[in-house]
Amino acid sequence: MTDPTPAILPRGVVQQEFQKAIEKFRKLLGADNVLVQEEQLAPYMKIMMPVDESKHAPSAVLIATTVEQVQGVVAICNGHRIPVWTVSTGHNLGYGSAAPHHRGQVILDLKKMNKIIDVDPDLCTALVEPGVTYQQLVDYIREKGYKLWVDPPAPSAIVGPVGNTLDRGVGYTPYAEHFLFQCGMEVVLANGKVLRTAMGGVKGSNTWQVFKWGYGPYLDGIFTQSNFGIVTKMGLWLMPQPDVFKPFAVKYQKDEDIADLVELFRPLSINGIIPNGVVFVGTLYEASATVRRSDYTTDKGATSKEIIQRIRDERKIGAWTVYGALYGTQAHVDINWKIVTELVQKSGKGEIVTEEQAGSDPAFKYRADLMRGNMTLTEFALYNWRGGGGSMWFAPVSQARGSETLKQVELATQILNKHGLDYVGEFIVTQRAMHHIIDVLYNRTDEEEMKRAYDCFAELLGEFEKHGYGVYRVNSAFMHRVADSFGPVQREINKTLKRALDPNNILAPGKSGIDLDT
């Protein structure tokens, strides 16, 4: 087979050198697992960020299936100074998808490294490879008849626990903080050595998936949101299936109710009455399950307050809808339900909706599915709200206080509306912290709107930073910008670690703003 002359090359690598590396990759992985043709690379180029696809176009895609192959890839990359961007399932939608941080990086796709190595039904642990999806894990658990739940993020079935945990993603059950419920990693380092973190380093140990800390400095954290190694196995804890699961919603009619709501529900989160994250969903986010913007207007720009009110009235959607769930024995749930309902009634506002009352409401079903770890793809409907394929998650973190909410909503709405975009957001209270999750949706067929979306996102980052907020995660077009928010000392420490662990800067340069060349 004769290769076309590659149109895209890695940064600083000449064509002849790249071709030599490609030949070595083929020898290592087999020709079918080295993708260089345009139509093979095209599926990796679909991005949702407001920049041209060419900025994130890969030069090749490598598909590895074993740890030894990953070690081999790293060796070749070191030899030829080829930067390699690793993805597990690559469905990091709204945060960069599968595309590399910058043009020319080779993608290492671990989707076929998808073995479920172990699930222990007594200790409720699992050890999986990066390509394992939540659907695969659920199917395995069902087949074995284990009474265990998984905790997927919103794209559920198609994504996997390793990629999501390494990006410090979250779910919706009591095991939502994925990195908290991770235990033990296997990591291929840039020098080709294989590290097993924590108890995984002890010969003959059977505690790799049950004791997180091991001995000495705790290392797992430096392999999350980073580019210090390639994780090839990861342990996680699974939630035992509760006897009773009781999802509920509480609808509130006024925008300003959000402040009181957080004060009302935070204690229930901290003291474990509501053990999963309590989600406070804004009108347009809630509406997206069933409504498109074009159902109400085709005008360009931000959706008016009048239309948002019409949507609330006609679709019976609150200004805020709170979702939570109770888990446990019947006795536990009965007691906790009494506490929740009495508290809401005492507050004098809010309409409680149970699963039975919700009936077939798609929005309630979607949230209930998420809170019990079911597979659902309803969140994709967000992409139909405005249409045009643009989406970026803006996700600042704050204290879980009511006083934080309104000012954030007002600030975000003012910036989004100024750029002709809508506030489509929700808050998630997890005990002491609160994630504010806003989907910046825009039309990528409109160059002018793309530019506005870019400027909007930059302004959101800048203005929120002025108020002391940082985001917990960001798409690859803004990683350097966000790294700056966390200060020069953090950036320098990350560079120091990078120099020590990956002196040739081959592993995902640019990830989280860590790059020895910039």
Binding site: P43, K46, G90, L93, Y383, G388, G389
Partner: protein, 200 residues
């Protein structure tokens, strides 16, 4: 929507077009033999959603493959669709999947295609309002001629772009000289759509 409901869809305008069947995942190669004017192409499945079901996109496909019996499938975000589509992508025999769908379906379809090692020969975003259309092509190998027309913003000059798109995706590498006359009774699209051509 569950799988069984998808099999009994009724009342969609395209289903009255000769040689088109709605709602079947199974593809018989004998029903999709290549036409004389085009290069040999594998069996074709057409995916549509929303207004695209009643658009000239399907007419363009029918014009490109006049002797063929096409299978047309409506997309949704249910787990049944995901499982059926994934099974089809991984089922073995080569297949060409073309479509015009909403943004949510497109996001899902492209992700599933990549997960299954499929090749993406065309991906286009289309926005239509007040009689004007905007197009953004990520990749247009399936029809460089049409890609150039859309990129130049001249998509509405000749045939409706939806017809030309259907024709081009159904017959990659051919000129559009064989396109059949258009029926005028299909309403023009409005809103946002994504077109694609995938081959396993």
């Amino acid at each position: 929507m569950n799988v069984s409901r998808r099999f009994i869809l009724k009342g969609i305008a395209l289903s009255v077009l000769a040689g088109i069947t709605m709602g079947r995942w199974d593809l018989s190669p004998t029903n999709n033999a290549a036409s004389a004017q085009a290069q040999p192409i594998p069996p074709i499945l057409v995916l549509v959603s929303g207004e695209a079901e009643q658009s000239a996109f399907l007419q363009g496909i029918a014009a490109a493959l006049p002797d063929k019996h096409l299978r047309v499938q409506r997309t949704d975000l249910g787990m049944g669709f995901v499982q059926d589509f994934t099974r089809l992508l991984r089922s073995g025999p080569q297949i060409r999947i073309i479509g015009l769908v909403d943004d949510a379906s497109a996001a899902l379809i492209v992700e599933l295609a990549r997960a299954s090692d499929a090749r993406l020969q065309w991906l286009g975003y289309h926005s239509i309002s007040a009689g004007q259309s905007r197009h953004r092509l990520l990749y247009g190998k399936a029809s460089s001629g049409l890609a150039a027309r859309l990129r130049n913003g001249a998509a509405d000059d000749l045939q409706p772009w939806t017809t030309a798109l259907g024709f081009a995706l159904a017959s990659p590498g051919t000129a559009q000289t064989g396109m059949a006359p258009l029926a005028a009774d299909l309403s023009p699209l409005t809103g946002h759509f994504v077109s694609f051509a995938i081959e396993t």
